[in-house]
Amino acid sequence: MQKNSNPKKNSTHLELLKLGKIFFKEKKFFDFYSKHKKSSFEAIKNINLKIEKNTFVSIIGPSGCGKSTLLNLIAGLQAPTSGKIIIDGLAIKGPGPDRGVIFQNYALMPWLTTIQNIEFALNTVFPEKTKPDIKERAINYLRMVGLEKASNKFPKELSGGMKQRVAIARALSINPNMLLMDEPFGALDALTRSYLQEELLSIWRKNKVTVVLITHSIEEALLLSDKIILMSSGPSATISEEISVDLERPRDRQNIEQDPKYLKIKMRLEKHLLRETRAVEEVT
């Protein structure tokens, strides 16, 4: 485990420098004659951010503001129009196995069993590893999320929560040091969601990873994060505030609501979200 050999905290893991993304519309034949010149859309603009190693960061903002866009840029799935993404001191050029991505809709391949889904990731990232090695590693990660018994089941036989656990196991199996999650629990019922939140926390504690979590739930952000990033409404969304959550861990989800510190931050977040959402609703 090489990443444990350098447990220097407070070193920057991820840095975003003047990051911007403009979506250019494809020019169709008839657009040539049309008077509308609006052929591009600036989703995010001038994003500057520093994230320390092994911290848990949540990004929150009104829907449609560009959270997914930002995460895709960090994952290397899309190229920024301007600015830089620096990881461990180096500007990234594309996706890489140092980052594990977890999507809202689980994104499991339906023609593969749960273990095969993980093996696909392992085979792709570690082509030099032998079949038995890959299999053993896949089983270990399934066990970590408590699903080794479901290893030969197909995704359609699993509940939403189980599918997301497989997706988490897949993302972790390639041993990334950063987990990028796009509203991973948004589609789950409340009980499953809190169960998976706890599981994520324990994985985060054990695996020493930096987590960037996109969420629209203020409670989720408060319960899990060290730092909460607030985004303004789009278009040309940017970071409007960074809030440190200095609540003690482990956080007790039953009694945390009585903590005045918790309530203070929560109110601040609610105010911000209300203001930004109003901005969105009044424009459209």
Binding site: A75, G94, P95, V101, F103, M109, F120
Partner: protein, 260 residues
């Protein structure tokens, strides 16, 4: 309990309707209600039994057992169809993945797709000077479009999440095609292959009337013999074979149905 009864009921109803049909057919034919000398069900069933009980005899090209004729047709369809699928799938993937390939190939596809494949028959005869190869060629042209179009559509409408997973892992283009795109579009490919097979089986009968040998030629030959009951025998056998082929693809489609 209810399900068992309804299943048995549908079986009984099916048999009953078949019996009623056969009886009416016989009555109508016997009374000469349609035209004179129209073969009744009794004569047709007897002919069917005669042909099926000895399907493999060979007394020259105009007196061939129906089993041989069926095998000749199936062989032409299978060769032409397999070649078409081998061309259509890679070409469809290419068209689905690349805008350039799409815009350069699509005009030909759109122009040629609505043309009856029989129009290619003289072209085939002129080029190949061989009726066997021409038959295969016509089936090839017939089979290519549905599989090609379905494959291209499948690639273009693939769930972007799968591609994002693949990309985020740093998978190469070749791994993405083989391990993500092809399995993801299997339902589309099979749907296309099913339509291709259905059309190929329709077209082979018509093509063979002009080519000699095969089940289509059998029909043409029996028309020259004015033996309508033998034509009905061929229709029944063609229909049954087409049904089996279609069921086979239905079975494959169920196997590759990923939906919940």
């Amino acid at each position: 309990m209810n399900k068992v009864i309804s299943k048995r009921l549908t079986f009984v109803v099916t048999i009953l309707s078949l019996l009623i049909f056969i009886i009416f057919w016989q009555i109508i034919a016997q009374q000469g209600l349609l035209v004179k000398n129209f073969p009744g069900s009794y004569k047709t069933i007897n002919a069917l039994i005669w042909w099926v009980s000895d399907p493999f005899f060979d007394n020259g090209p105009n007196d061939l057992g129906i089993g041989f004729n069926l095998l000749i047709s199936l062989r032409r369809v299978l060769i032409g169809y397999s070649l078409a699928v081998l061309v259509a799938i890679p070409l469809g993937v290419l068209m689905g993945m690349s805008k350039l390939a799409q815009s350069s190939l699509n005009p030909y596809v759109q122009l040629l797709k609505p043309v009856s494949p029989l129009a290619w028959l003289p072209v085939g005869l002129f080029v190949f000077r061989n009726s066997e190869i021409t038959g295969i060629f016509v089936i090839f042209i017939t089979s290519i479009w549905p599989t090609l179009i379905n494959t291209a559509f499948g690639v273009a409408s693939i769930n972007p999440d799968y591609l994002r997973v693949s990309k985020s892992l740093g998978a190469s283009k070749s791994i993405t095609i083989r391990r993500v795109i092809l399995p993801a579009i299997m339902p589309n490919i099979l749907a296309g292959m099913r339509i291709s097979m259905g059309t190929a089986w329709l077209v082979i009968v018509a093509a063979e009337m002009l080519l000699g040998t095969g089940i289509g030629y059998f029909i043409w030959n029996e028309w020259n013999n004015l033996s309508l009951e033998n034509i009905f025998v061929a229709i029944i056998i063609i229909g049954f074979t087409g049904f089996i082929l279609d069921q086979f693809f239905g079975f494959l489609q169920d196997k590759f149905d990923y939906s919940i």
